[in-house]
């Protein structure tokens, strides 16, 4: 096993910050390339006109997942050293729903609001300010919300563990799900375009 390099001591903390900056450049670059610096493009996902959010996100998930899987099978990457966020399922269900509502209301998510701000979107910058204010409010209210924040604590769990399905089978399942999802998404986009066409002409 030679990776992850940083965790195996190939470089130190200072160098990891330079790596962070470079990785970030790639992150922001592809977000903007995909059109995710635009709130209208992003929320089209939720009005079913343009399902690029789903397509980009699941292509990225499948790409990274397959990469991690093959590199681990090849004995190059130690999967057990990759950081996993522990599961607090109640807090994450509540948090996820709030994130979804906030996405439609605000038009961005945290990462894409940075891409929007960088390309001059004023609403993107105001979203960033709102996000900062919300973070501060959460921190100030932490003693009150701590109960919900720690609710549903079941430790670090992965889908293969919980479903009792071998890792490789689940990877294959996610790839299949994505492929059928992409076909379904394109079908929905065509239906919506056909529905919208007579109205605009």
């Amino acid at each position: 096993m030679s990776a992850p390099f940083y965790k195996l001591g190939a470089f130190g903390d200072e160098a990891s910050l330079i790596v962070a900056f470079l990785i970030g450049i790639g992150f922001g670059f592809f977000l903007e390339r995909a059109g995710f610096g635009s709130a209208k493009k992003l929320v089209s996902q939720f009005y079913l006109n343009d399902l690029a959010v789903f397509k980009v996100m699941f292509t990225a998930i499948v790409t990274a997942m397959l990469g991690v899987t093959y590199l681990s099978w090849a004995g190059f990457l130690d999967l057990s050293l990759l950081y996993l966020v522990p599961t607090y399922w109640v807090a994450q269900v509540v948090g996820g729903l709030l994130l979804g509502v906030g996405f439609v209301v605000g038009g961005y998510c945290p990462g894409t609001s940075i891409a929007a701000t960088a390309t001059g979107k004023i609403d993107g910058f105001v979203f960033v300010l709102g996000f900062a204010a919300g973070t501060l409010a959460f921190a100030l209210a932490f003693p009150l919300v701590k109960g919900l924040y720690t609710a549903g604590d079941i430790g670090t769990k992965t889908l293969p563990q919980v479903l009792g399905v071998p890792y490789g089978i689940l990877v294959f399942g996610v790839v299949l799900m994505a492929v059928f999802g992409f076909m379904g998404a394109t079908w929905v986009e065509k239906k919506m375009a056909a529905k919208a066409a007579p109205a605009t002409e």
């Binding site: 992150f27 922001g28 950081y83 996820g96 990462g111 960088a118 979107k121 105001v126 204010a133």
Partner: protein, 187 residues
Amino acid sequence: MASVTHDVVHERAAEKARMAQPYMNPYLAGIGLGLVLLAAFVLVGRGLGASGAFNSGIAWLVSLVAPGYAKSNEFLSAYLEEGTHPLKAWLVFEIAGAFVGALLSGLLAGRVGAAVEKGPRVSVGTRLAFAFVGGALMAMGAAFARGCTSGQALTGGSLLNLGSWATMMCIFSGAYAVAWFFRRQWR
């Protein structure tokens, strides 16, 4: 006179729109994003994120105003380590990079310029108020979920992490559940 400058501004905007390149094919952009995420896993053993950078930023700001309180606050103190600057954090540098990367992509495609994204039926003020409130809601959601669309849905999703998939499903559910009520903002 006013109408002349108005026309000039409109012509410039129209010209800009003509010059802006179309967005990248979603599958190609997804592969690019996935390879960046894979590089993060291989190089440092962690994925992408965004909300964590805000937590560091707020922890730092509060520590400037009320250092004692910041250290006593359980949520903020996790981002304040003795002996290191709170902004010397992985996600802060990654997000700074994301800003630069997005600007670079935007400049190359002719997509950089001041704008407010909204539908024709809402005012700029309304749109900005919604952007602020939406941002604040997402901040609280990301805090509860321990990550956002980047750290949970994308990163944790690709690692088949249980809580990340729960978060992702709930993000889509929450958004679809309320989209109809906010349609006026966009069309």
